[in-house]
């Protein structure tokens, strides 16, 4: 099981995990993010900026059993008018990815989207090569609404990848 915690309360040790994850080429490629080399100050700035974004739910993912921070969960671009948001999540270390944690994070995020923000719809953008996330969202009942052709340039594959939009309605 997992729970969410504010990143502002992270220990220095846990901040170093994010420093590692944010420059991890494989992870960054999965989540379509540019790898960056951050210092502790840089991580603090990143946490401050995102934690204070009124249109974002931005939390670390903590495993209940050992209280280890294993990833990140967020609702982004929360649209309080049209009542939708983009879901983003990752588990930092591959060793933690095969233990149902993804399902637990997604389910908890869906609960937050519905109970805290009263959203009508959530969606995720996933590139064609991220089969783990495609499986995760399909199994949770998300439907593919479109394909953004060649929308992401993968530095690992050195080619443009299609990006799928998966969505689900909450009510």
């Amino acid at each position: 099981m997992i729970y969410f915690e504010n990143l502002t309360s992270l220990s220095t040790q846990d901040k170093y995990k994010f420093i590692k994850w944010k420059k991890d080429l494989q992870l960054c490629d999965l989540i379509m993010s540019s790898p960056v080399e951050l210092t502790i100050d840089g991580v603090n700035e990143w946490i401050y900026k995102n934690s204070n974004d009124a249109n974002q739910f931005f939390k670390s993912v903590v495993r209940v059993e050992d209280k280890q921070v294993i990833g990140l969960a967020r609702l982004m671009f929360i649209d309080n008018v049209a009542k939708h948001a983009e879901i983003g999540l990752y588990i930092g270390d591959s060793i933690d990815r095969s233990k149902n944690a993804g399902v637990n994070i997604l389910n908890l995020l869906l609960q937050v989207a519905e109970s805290k923000y009263r959203l009508n719809k959530v969606y995720a953008k996933i590139h064609e090569g991220n089969m783990g996330s495609i499986r995760l969202f399909c199994n949770a009942g998300f439907i593919k609404e479109g394909t953004l052709r060649q929308h992401y340039y993968s530095r690992i594959s050195n080619c443009f990848k299609d990006v799928y939009i998966y969505s689900t309605f909450l009510k």
């Binding site: 540019s34 008018v81 049209a82 009542k83 939708h84 009508n120 719809k121 969606y123 609404e145 479109g146 394909t147 953004l148 052709r149 060649q150 929308h151 992401y152 340039y153 443009f160 939009i165 969505s167 309605f169």
Partner: protein, 184 residues
């Protein structure tokens, strides 16, 4: 005339129509068009002259000297008369894509809208090519079919149809995303 550091060519023309780096003198026409057509823009309150002056001073004026601005805006001219404005926004220099935006004077009827939009899209495609973009795309609310015709005429394809994605007049309406891959 303003000029964008990021572009070698500043003026893109087709017959009597052209797009030029956005002109200060067009700002209040642009404000009026945006306010008249708020219903299909991502704008939730009418702009005032002060808002517009501030935006041009704090945002637009800084775009010209940047190597990699996040948007470049143009006035759309018929001769010397401004008939619309738009540009490439949300420019992603890493994945080399950008969103096409534009708005025309509301006085244009449906026929004119299509004709003028087709020309505008040709011109902004040329800008995308000069910036070495891989792809350009645009969003539109799904309640005015004729607005999509110019996209098809310019080789855009429907990438996504997002259900219940925008709230217009208390109704949730779909949003369409169209894109065009650019020639190398």
């Amino acid at each position: 005339m303003n000029s964008y550091k990021t572009l070698n060519k500043q003026v893109y023309s087709s017959g009597q129509y052209s797009i030029v780096p956005i002109r200060m003198e067009d700002r209040y026409d642009i404000m009026r068009w945006r306010n008249e057509q708020m219903y299909h823009l991502r704008q939730n309150k009418p702009l005032t002259k002060d808002d517009q002056d501030r935006y041009f001073e704090e945002v637009v004026s800084k775009l010209f000297d940047q190597d990699k601005p996040d948007q470049i805006l143009f006035s759309y001219l018929e001769g010397e008369k401004c008939i619309g404005y738009g540009g490439l926004v949300h420019i992603n220099w890493i994945d080399r894509n950008a969103e096409v935006s534009f708005i025309l004077d509301k006085l244009n009827n449906e026929y004119n809208y299509i004709e003028l939009s087709v020309i505008y899209l040709q011109l902004i495609t040329n800008v995308g090519n000069e910036l070495m973009m891989h792809k350009i795309y645009t969003y539109g609310y799904d309640f005015a079919d004729y607005r999509f015709e110019p996209l098809y005429k310019n080789g855009f394809q429907l990438d996504a149809f997002l259900h219940e994605h925008a709230l217009i007049d208390s109704n949730l309406v779909p949003v369409r995303i169209y894109s065009k891959l650019l020639v190398k």
